[in-house]
């Protein structure tokens, strides 16, 4: 291969037809309230560890639907439950995190 000094750049586009959303589908079966997120961001704002790891349940939820690796966020969760307390839609955020921590292989 000739070295041109540049190569094809990786596309940042999310192709929903190619994104594997099976983890999300599995999640909403086990934690039905996960579907109810309206992306208000309260969870991330109150999160005890968001300042270190950018954890936000909102980002986790959109991320797994867009094929992003949300494990770094999940692995930082201490399950303190503040997000559950502030979520206006009553999403069971702790169960959501724990369930995702089991779903990933």
């Amino acid at each position: 291969m000739i070295d041109f000094g540049f190569t094809l750049s990786k596309s940042s586009t999310v192709d929903l037809n190619k994104v594997d959303r099976s983890r999300y589908d599995q999640l909403v079966k086990l934690v039905p309230t996960a579907r109810m997120c309206m992306n208000c961001g309260s969870c991330g704002a109150t999160c005890t560890v968001s300042e270190y790891k950018g954890m936000s349940v909102r980002k986790v939820l959109t991320g797994i639907q867009r094929g992003e690796d949300v494990r770094p966020m999940l692995s930082s969760c201490m399950l303190c439950g503040k997000c559950t307390m502030v979520c206006p839609r009553g999403i069971n955020t702790r169960n959501l995190v724990l369930t995702l921590c089991k779903i990933y292989d």
Binding site: Y52, M78, M85, K102
Partner: protein, 597 residues
């Protein structure tokens, strides 16, 4: 009394012998298995305890009081207590007296296992003695006692509420078989003894029955079939016993010495835990105790069903039941045999495999050093900031040299991780926190959240640091005159938070503190019977919507006090109650701070 049957045998005893042999072998096998499953330290501890006369005596006393007299049930409801002790104690007495009879009258037969059970068939009354009459009287007396208990048990199927228990666990098929065979044993024994009474003699229950039957039945024909039926009923009961709730009878006799030996559950499935879940008598006290069963919801997620599913090994249901529980601890507090519902569930949760590892987000927190008191508010308190504000104001008023450990948040005590069953992960959090606290150089760690407080008390190793809850701390400030409070004329009902009351056994201190600054009323269910607010972090799977009725039921209980407002000592209880309460919900710190003069 003389032997009526020279061989001392009749085939009808065979069913009984089969049943007896089966149940004894089964229980022996189960005991060996449990002992094998114990860790060697626990096993050693257990055997040593049996050699310790003090513990042994306690074992015997506890078994007698719990298994035969059912003292805890008497405390709960007299009728319920009588029902159980009449059957258990009465049966025990009949067996005991049966042996005495054999020893007294036909001592040569004592080696025959079945003799005391079927004594009246095998003997003939040759002369009436006072000794014999007394024994016969006692036999009939205890038989009557048992049958009264069984009559109550039957009545309970209809009028449950009279027994102080509203709901029972749905019986399984084998439980029903066991129940009916148990109910059948004693009337059959009475019939059999009655048909034989003109030969073997009897007392006030059997003689008149014998006379009555003879009037229109003629006894000879019915004698043998009833003895057969009696034996078969015994056989059936004993054969199904290992697979029914009646397994609690032998299991509890192992549980009590094990607990007295100081054993703890280390796994949710093996060893001591196995004894524990076999000891569950399915009485249903935990169903009424459980805050989740409001409006008859979630009944099948109570501890009685946990023990049942653990016995069955139904993994899916075990997981569901373990995840749903609020871990409020009320079932354990009220359980007659001490099944550790929350503890078993946490251990059950600890069995899960998490493929995403926990990566402790190392907090770059630093603490202001060299203050005597370090105040830790906890995550939840950051959502109810008035608690933190009132406590720090009180500390300032009392001129306490303190600093805040988590003023900016970002620190968790690890309790939620712990209750989620991620023990190693919780320990990572604990280790980091311990380091931070010890580095601060404080001598007192003041904690206002009971959830954190329980964690600090039980899982932290902080040499030289006294861990205090803010309630006794403030009480002490008043005792030592550092702050003075006056009483307001508002009347509060104090809600015992699960983690502070049942969790840490603190019931009187909060009432004392609240009483110094306001009026106090008590709710119908309080102290160890306090109802969880429903907001508990203990539950993993309960959704927000499912908790609403639990909170409302807990509030209804508090409203029975007719107090003006609700006082509590937990930020989570406060936030949860405030969502639906029709009157103010305040933390004790806030109430006290307002009354400082």
């Amino acid at each position: 009394m003389i032997d009526r049957i020279p061989s001392g045998f009749h085939p009808f005893v065979i069913p009984f012998l089969i049943g007896m042999a089966f149940v004894l072998l089964y229980c022996f096998g189960a005991m060996i298995r449990v002992l094998y499953e114990l860790s060697w330290q626990d096993r050693k501890k257990f055997f040593l305890s049996l050699l310790n006369p003090k513990i042994l005596l306690k074992d015997i006393k506890d078994i007698f009081l719990n298994c035969l007299i059912h003292v805890p049930l008497w405390k709960r409801n007299k009728l319920f207590g009588y029902m159980h002790s009449s059957i258990a104690f009465g049966w025990f007495m009949i067996i005991l007296l049966g042996h005495i009879e054999v020893l007294l009258f036909v001592p040569g037969r004592i080696n025959l296992f079945y003799y005391p059970i079927f004594f009246n068939y095998f003997v003939a009354e040759d002369d009436v003695t006072l000794r014999g009459s007394l024994l016969f009287f006692l036999m009939d007396f205890f038989l009557l006692m048992i049958m009264s208990g069984i009559a109550l048990a039957m009545a309970r199927r209809v009028k449950n509420y009279m027994f102080g228990v509203k709901r029972m666990a749905r019986p399984t098929f084998l439980n029903v078989v066991g129940l009916y065979s148990l109910w059948a044993i004693f009337p059959l024994r009475w019939l059999a003894e009655s048909f034989t009474a003109h030969i073997s003699g009897g007392s006030f229950l059997t003689i008149p029955a014998n006379w009555l039957f003879r009037q229109f039945l003629g006894n000879e024909l019915y004698m043998l079939p009833t003895w057969w039926a009696y034996s078969i009923a015994l056989c059936v009961f004993m054969c199904v016993l290992p697979f029914t709730r009646y397994m609690h009878i032998p299991a509890e006799m192992l549980l009590i010495p094990m607990r007295n030996a100081g054993l703890k559950v280390r796994s949710s499935r093996k060893g001591f835990a196995r004894v524990e879940f076999f000891s569950c008598p399915n009485c249903g006290v935990c169903i009424d105790a459980c805050p989740m069963t409001v409006d008859n919801g979630n009944v099948k997620d109570c501890t009685v069903y946990l023990t049942r599913q653990l016995r069955r090994g139904n993994e899916e249901r075990i997981q569901e039941i373990s995840d749903k529980c609020l871990l409020c601890g009320k079932c354990e507090a009220l359980c007659q045999v001490g099944v550790e519902g929350p503890g078993l569930r946490i251990l059950e949760r600890a069995r899960r495999d998490y493929t995403v590892p926990f990566n402790y987000p190392a907090a770059d927190k630093s603490v202001d050093k060299n203050h005597k008191v370090l105040y830790f508010a906890g995550c939840m308190t950051h959502l109810t900031p008035s608690i933190g504000r009132n406590i720090t104001e009180l500390l300032r008023k009392a001129n306490i040299d303190f600093t805040w450990l988590d003023q900016q948040g970002g620190l968790c005590c690890g309790r939620p991780m712990f209750t989620a069953g991620r023990i190693a992960e919780a320990k990572a959090i604990v280790a980091n926190m311990e380091k931070l606290i010890l580095e601060s150089g404080c001598d007192t760690l003041l904690v206002s959240c009971p959830i954190c407080y329980k964690m600090f008390r039980e899982q932290y190793n902080l040499p030289g640091v006294e861990i205090v809850n803010y309630i006794p701390f403030i009480n002490n400030l008043i005792n030592t005159g550092r702050i003075k409070v006056e009483k307001s004329d508002i009347c509060y009902v104090y809600h015992d938070p699960c983690e502070l009351g049942r969790g840490c056994g603190m019931y009187d201190e909060p009432r004392k503190l609240l009483g110094r600054s306001a009026g106090i009323a008590e709710a119908q269910q309080n102290r160890e019977e306090s109802i969880c607010c429903g907001g508990s972090l203990g539950s993993l799977s309960l959704d927000f919507a499912q908790r609403e009725n639990m909170t409302k039921a807990a509030l209804d209980n508090l409203y029975t006090s007719n107090a003006d407002a609700i006082a509590t000592a937990c930020p989570l209880c406060q936030a949860t109650f405030a969502r639906y309460a029709d009157r103010p919900v305040k933390d004790i710190a806030e109430i006290v701070n307002q009354q400082v003069i």
